[in-house]
Amino acid sequence: MSVGFVMLCHTALERAAEVARHWVERDCPVVIHVDKRVAKPVYDTLVTSLSDLGNVRFSGRYACEWGTWGIVAATQAASTILLREFPEVRHVFLASGSCLPLRPVEDLKAYLQSRPRVDFIESVTTEDVGWTVGGLNLERFTLRFPFSWRRQRRLFDSYVRVQRRLGIRRRVPAGLVPHLGSQWWCLTRQTLSAILESPDREAVDRYFRRVWIPDESYFQTMVRQFSANVESRSLTLSKFDFQGKPHIFYDDHLQLLRRSDCFVARKIWPQADKLYQNFLLGDPSGQASAEPNPGKIDRLFAKAVERRVKGRPGLYMQSRMPNENWENGRTAAPYSVFEGFSELFGNFEVWLGKIAGTRAHGHLYAPNRVEFAGGETVFNGALSDSAAMRDYAPKSFLTNLIWNTRGERQCFQFGPGDKQDISWFMAGDPNAQISVISGAWIIPLFQSNQNFSDIRRDAARLQKIEADHLSVLRSPWTKARVRIWPLAEFVENPMEPLQSIIDEISPRSLRRLTEAPQLADLKGFGQFLQNLRNQGMQPTLMGDFPAGEDPTPTASRRGRPYLVK
């Protein structure tokens, strides 16, 4: 009889009774405290259901509202009874009604037997605590908290604010160094009795009565006064989520709990029949004296909290609808936008798909239909090629496309002939790699068979649109990777920029481009621009094309331009 349990219960008493029975039948005395707010008949049922057992005691009942002194008072009362009534108990284990022993009691006894003087209690100084919710660390000890956080939140908050503003502070009793830690501990008789029988307990209790959440600080602080051997960790596996409420274990956690090698876990869903059945009635042949190893469970819960707090980048759905700039990634993955390339190069999309090994779409924002790669009418995720649907929600269209094709980089063409609503969104997206050959939209006009006055009108319109678009890309809010070349500059040496774009898209295939896309025939282009000028329209975005001279690419340099030989 080396370990005794103190159980604090407030709901699911029939489960608490099962666990208490489990311990008592294995020769561990149990003292049960039931919250005063539990109705009398329910309490009486619990008492009767355990009346056949000898080593169970019930302590005086306190109302245990979360964050208040009642929980500590209950713990003190129950521990006092345990120490008094069962003198052979060496370690006192504080558990709750929703705790479940995961390993045979024999294991726990042996474990404690080999560490007879060790107090297992998580006890961390306030400076080092990163997990408190609500920002109250040291202030838990220096402010007063007469109001209920659950029921009188507004009063609670404003009283905290008032005290802060007025600079009212309580003095921490001399000699006490505030420590915080998990409520669930396992202390030796020596330490616990020293705390309970301390000569200034009355003063200390009076102080802690107004401390916020004293159950996480009273014993954690006091133990530092009396214990010579504090092992600052809890033997109870108990994980908290970002709101500070404990994670709950269900039937499907069975294997995870088995492998954790922890002694006791909390908190268990009362109707997790399989867990209770397995751990209370399971065969007692436990593992050898393995150390508790909650690593896997830690990871599971850490992931859950991360999903709740940060979510999956680029996902917009029914329960994740971030405000602008809170998206944690506007889109799910990097993508490339090419402007002017398919106008300058005849077979650009085919070439790009082949060279970069990515999905190269046409103009996704074309006015008539969505030009998916390969002329598909539906695409990943059953995205429709209907222009009306795309224009109804242009952002959703892009984010959906990128989300649906996670793992495969998307490239698409864009230009002044397309719907422009998406400009700002792309510009502000760090995942976007936008490469622009400015003024290249004029090449199809140059090659077209339209009347010159129509060409002139179209050119003026498109130039205006592209100029606006470029000013978006050059704005200080732009987060995309933007490259802009005037057409004249690009035509002179097309391979160098292409190489750097491709290197960025597929950095692993660091090869020199061997095959160039087919450049459009620009014979007479300079004259064409001059004609536009003569008609009173000033083409500005293309750069300088001398009137008589046709642009020709200079022989591309060998090797990667940025390699120093």
Binding site: D252, Q271, K310, R320, M321, V378, A388, M389, N404
Partner: protein
């Protein structure tokens, strides 16, 4: 929110209550087993009309999830729906031959039942062709979810409508009584949903899926809404104002996180596209009892004439909730 705004929203909610109070006279109890409802029981509410063939699977599905009591409003069924439901031990049923449309598509009747019987209960409001899927639903009963929501101080749980459809024409494989409809309608659209946020009502307006893709490609604005909040810890001061798409007080509509995180959510698998659909659509054309002059059904009727295949090569085949979670249609949030 301005005081005027608050008053206006409140007036709207009170109006819904008043309508429910007036319309209560239209309901005649067939079998009222509501005294059997124990405290904290999970309740399910639904309006039905000629759904006899769907009911056995529907009841079994939700009984297995842990619904304790069903409250049905029968809108003048002629196929034995009423008689079948009256025999069930955990069902209370009311009947009416009043207009479905005039009762705001059944919501007035249900609001009355909610105010009367659902105060303090978790209550699930679904149609007979909607099947709730939530995180861990194959290992944890509905009670586990509601307990967790209670512990997290969450009052409402979102479940987007996910339209399921078969491969091939809708009429090709007939549905048999008691059969799992998702043996036939196994497919869904995974990533073509659009979301609009309504800042006034705090709710999202989700559209898309096969119905938008096939029936509304040129008028996406008219495509049906898919956002639903079917599971609510009911208080008699609450009211659904637009089917189960929107609740008042509007704080209940905040089922999504605005700061980048994900809240827990589920999906309502929608077994609409079975062979029964064509019959429904035809009947609806003559009754004209559905939303917005049944324009949705007009569109279906037009498209159905050509025996369309909703399936496309990018359709996803349904496996389980984890698949929906990975696809980003629902989320575990911080429930682990």
């Amino acid at each position: 929110m301005s005081i005027v705004g608050a008053i206006r929203l409140r007036a709207r909610r009170r109006r819904a209550h008043l309508r429910a109070f007036v319309k209560r006279r239209e309901l005649t109890p067939v079998v009222d087993r509501s005294p059997k409802i124990v405290p904290h029981a999970i309740l399910l509410l639904s309006t039905v009309r000629n759904e006899r063939v769907r009911l056995p699977f529907f009841l079994r599905y939700y009984r297995d999830l842990g619904v304790d009591h069903f409250l049905f409003v029968d809108n003048d069924s002629t196929d034995g729906t009423r008689e079948y439901l009256a025999e069930q031990p955990d069902v209370s049923i009311w009947t009416t031959d009043a207009s479905y449309k005039a009762s705001h598509f059944g919501m007035d009747w249900l609001t009355h039942l909610q105010r009367r019987y659902c105060h303090g209960h978790w209550c699930l409001t679904v149609d007979v062709d909607e099947f709730l899927v939530y995180p861990f639903c194959e290992t944890r009963p509905l009670r586990a979810l509601t307990d967790w929501l209670d512990a997290s101080a969450v009052r409402s749980f979102s479940a987007m409508l996910l339209d399921m459809y078969p491969k091939g024409p809708v009429q090709a494989r007939p549905y048999h009584e008691g059969q799992n409809p998702f043996e036939i309608a196994q497919w869904f659209d995974s990533g073509n949903y659009t979301i609009n946020r309504n800042f006034w009502n705090n709710n999202l307006w989700i559209q898309g899926g096969p119905r938008a893709r096939m029936f509304f490609p040129d008028t996406p604005y008219s495509a049906p809404a898919l956002n639903k909040i079917p599971l609510v810890n009911w208080d008699r001061s609450y009211a659904y104002v637009s089917s189960t798409h929107m609740l008042l007080p509007r704080g209940l509509n905040l089922v999504f996180d605005e700061w980048g995180g994900e809240k827990a959510s589920g999906c309502l698998l929608h077994a609409k596209f079975l062979d029964t659909f064509a019959v429904k659509a035809a009947e609806e054309m003559t009754r004209g009892q559905h939303y917005a002059n049944s324009q949705e059904y007009t569109a279906y009727q037009k498209a159905l004439a050509s025996q369309p295949d909703l399936w496309c090569k990018f359709s996803e085949k349904y496996i389980n909730w984890r698949q929906l979670e990975i696809l980003g249609l629902m989320s575990k949030g911080n429930w682990a």
